[in-house]
Symmetry: C2
Subunit: 108 residues, 2 copies
Amino acid sequence: MPSEPLESSNVVGHRMRSRREELGWSQEKVGVLIGIDESSARARISRYELGLHEAPVKTARQIAEALGAPLEYLYCEDDNLAAVLLSLAKLKPNARKQVVSRWLAELA
Amino acid sequence: MPSEPLESSNVVGHRMRSRREELGWSQEKVGVLIGIDESSARARISRYELGLHEAPVKTARQIAEALGAPLEYLYCEDDNLAAVLLSLAKLKPNARKQVVSRWLAELA
DNA sequence: AAACTAAGACTGTCTTAGCAG
DNA sequence: CTGCTAAGACAGTCTTAGTTT
């Protein structure tokens, strides 16, 4: 069972990979950006993306930041909502707060 | 350092606790709901909420579901956005899809 | 009742080294 | 060069048992 994925769904690894590929980056680049030694960066990122190992939240947060995404993006199970969370994070802080407040009022 | 929290921020534990308290449930109730034996349910949920231990994503997903929240809610670092994600999850599937699609178009 | 904690058992991750495409 | 994998070293969680409020 060492070669069996931890999760059949593997949302987090899936989001990590899709974001990384959108940016055209290697696994090594992502790993080194978050401070992993270049000798093990590829192995670790590979396992995260495949869902063989699970990154602790602290590490997931670093990867999300490196990929220009908010932490909740990595754990979002709906593709369209994930896209919303990503676009939202690209807004300037003030604009983002206004949008979120409006949505909150809309749903409340 | 065994008594030191893993994370100074501890978003996940914080969201678990606030949701559980909103529902007026005990830690044991949440644990038993996700299939933990009642003899260890309190200890495990307590450590998750305090951030002393980190729940694997599979367990976090079970807890989120028991608390009536989507997985991304537990990892959302912005309080207002977390409230949006929670409200959104309460809509019927069709209504939710429409809202998300509209937001996506609005930001794209 | 309810929440928290210590400690050993247990389970998963991380590094190293190397293979495959 | 880029991604993937085995295996031992290592770090984390889980259960049990018990304390605290």
